[in-house]
Amino acid sequence: MKNKSQIILRSIVLAAGLALLPAAAQASEGVALKQVDWSFNGPFGTFDRPQLKRGFQVYKEVCAACHSIKFVSYRNLSEAGGPQFTEAEVKTIAAAGNVTDGPNADGEMFERPAEPKDRIVKPFPNDNAARAANNGALPPDLSLMAKARKNGPDYLYSVLTGYAEPPEGVVMADGMNFNHYFPGQQIAMPQPLSDDQVTYEDGTPATLDQMAQDVTAFLMWTAEPKLEDRHKLGLKVMMFLVLFAGLLFATYKRVWKDQH
């Protein structure tokens, strides 16, 4: 009996070791990021609703000037597990954007205000237009950014708060800005956030730190909109599987009883 449980334990440790080996190998590279105790971390993590709303405000008033979030639709903003704006609020938010629709009955394309069903309108019609307006640099789409970097949320927060004057002796390329956490430490994007850049509707003081955290949480939601569903379903599945495994183990012992 003791032997068997030892074997199971050893195999689980071995399996976990095998599985986590590459992840552990990669974690040791690069500058150590600032770590934030995000509300969505851990097996029971959820998004902080007011924080997502503030984060959307920062995105809309600052980031959206250059960065798209092309995989997100306006309707997502009112769905469960997200910022959960009311449907009326989402209609108002959407109507601020213009989309090209058509052709109409006369065969003409036409402009209309965006509706909840539409994708969130991009700041530039295409990548070339974005480059032309940004000194040749392409501001990347942010929908998945929180999953497209190692430790994405900590990375985003670190970069947003990591701007500084270049240290002595560091030669900056033309139009580049110094950032501790950006790979190569030279980033084309000028520091986007500074204290009181936005005025929060809920009265939260808009410090650089606060805004960086809020918009990062929002971008984690755009990257992983089903995170809360996943955590909730995970708990039910785990409870079921553990109970089921217990019953199976008891049955297994009973079946094998006459063989030992």
Partner: protein, 413 residues
């Protein structure tokens, strides 16, 4: 297949079927009455776990295909459509993507179990070879599937891997254009890999049938590695191993679910959440973790063609293990020297996996080369020589005697 003669149909419909298509007696012989050594440990449950993995991949895969668009302009966004708009699409996709890792984890445990207990030895050589065919098909299926996502690592991984075929003399260029359907990895490549990704799992299922068929001729090996002497050494597969395997599968599901629900992207590369871009090469191109040891071998050879050959031999040598191992004793329990070399080899494989994830430079390259050399040393020198020089411990008389001694010792203690 032995043991199916005792199936006696009683009801009229079963009798009717049995006279025309004796599939029920076949199933009865293979999965109910099948005599199985009574001393199998938990390492033997990975066969059942692998059947579970294959089933999960096929079922989730069939559903994913209903929502996926195999076109370079739409593949990446159709995956996001699955993640965002399809009901429980996130669940099905995370099960499928983590399922590939779980499948490989289970297959590696299954293979190392075979190596430890000598399950590939006479008369089970063909079972091992069929298993290796399944493994090679699995790596192909996993690679094809990884490309379909059309992220940065999909695209650049596909570029690196397909270019390996270009290193083959004479036919390299021809093979490359056949794989690509053009002059680089592009839409035709995505389309043919999509088609093959759907085909290969069914080939795997076919070879699995052969693998199990071949297993049912001599029956299972066991931790003692000695032959079954009679009915006192065996139990019927059902209920003894059906219940044990089911329990093991559910334990495996718990481990699997931990990844699906709580760290679904831990085993993936963040770069694959960036859409494929042929103008921007990622800093480090790495395959998924389960291919890293072979990637390390490929990169530790400075010449491209020789690297490809070394990687090919590293996989092919596994097919030859039944003949490279000259020892007649199966289980490492009775092979004091082999037992130690087995663990050294496992460590070597893990080191190769670690090196495969690192850039090929400095110390990593040196360690990678030593580990690569040891990999070949193990198969071509150590395995054949050990069988000649090693004195095995005395083998127990029979399985049942060993089991009885053990439980007597357990009661006394």
């Amino acid at each position: 297949m032995s043991g199916h003669s005792e199936f006696q149909p009683t009801s009229a419909p079963v009798k009717w079927l049995e006279r025309r298509l004796p599939i029920l007696s076949l199933m009865h012989g293979a999965a109910v009455a099948f005599p199985t050594p009574k001393n199998l440990n938990y390492w033997w449950t990975f066969g059942g776990i692998l059947m579970f993995c294959l089933g999960v991949q096929i079922i989730t895969g069939v559903i994913l295909v209903m929502h996926f668009t195999p076109h370079v302009d739409m593949a990446f966004s159709s995956v996001e459509h699955i993640m965002r708009d399809v009901n429980y699409g996130w669940l099905i996709r995370y099960i499928h993507s983590n399922g590939a890792s779980m499948f490989f984890l289970a297959v590696y445990i299954h293979m190392f179990r075979g190596l430890y207990y000598g399950s590939y030895k006479e008369p089970r050589e063909l079972i091992w070879i069929l298993g290796m065919v399944i493994y090679v098909l699995m790596t192909a299926a996993a690679f094809f599937g990884y490309v379909l996502v059309w992220g940065q690592m999909s695209f650049w991984g596909a570029t690196v891997i397909t270019n390996l075929f270009g290193a083959i003399p004479l036919v390299g260029d021809f093979l490359l254009s056949l794989l690509w359907g053009g002059f680089s990895v592009d839409n035709p490549t995505l389309n043919r890999l999509f088609s093959l990704h759907y085909l290969v799992p069914f080939l795997i299922a076919g070879v699995v049938v052969l693998h199990i068929w071949a297993l049912h001729v001599p029956g299972n090996n066991n931790p003692l590695g000695i032959d079954v002497k009679g009915p006192q050494d065996t139990v019927t597969f059902h209920p003894y191993y059906t219940i044990k395997d089911t329990f093991a599968v559910v334990m495996f599901m718990i481990f699997f679910a931990l990844f699906v629900f709580y760290m679904p992207n831990a085993l993936g590369e963040p770069d694959n959440y960036i859409e494929a871009n042929r103008l921007s090469t990622p800093a480090h191109i790495v395959p998924e973790w389960y291919l890293l040891p072979f990637y390390a071998i490929l990169r530790s050879i400075p010449d491209k063609l020789l690297g490809v050959i070394a990687m090919g031999i590293a996989i092919f040598v596994l097919f030859l293990v039944p003949w490279l191992d000259t020892s007649k004793v199966r289980s490492a329990r009775f092979r004091p020297l082999y037992k130690q070399f087995f663990w050294l080899f496992l460590i070597d494989a893990l080191i190769l996996g670690y090196i495969g994830a690192k850039p090929a430079e400095g110390m990593y390259l040196v360690i990678g080369r030593i580990a690569t050399a040891y990999y070949f040393l193990h198969f071509f020198i150590i395995l054949p020589v050990l069988g000649l020089v090693e004195t095995p411990k005395p083998l127990p008389e029979s399985i049942s005697k060993s089991v009885l001694d053990k439980s007597a010792a357990g009661k006394a203690a």
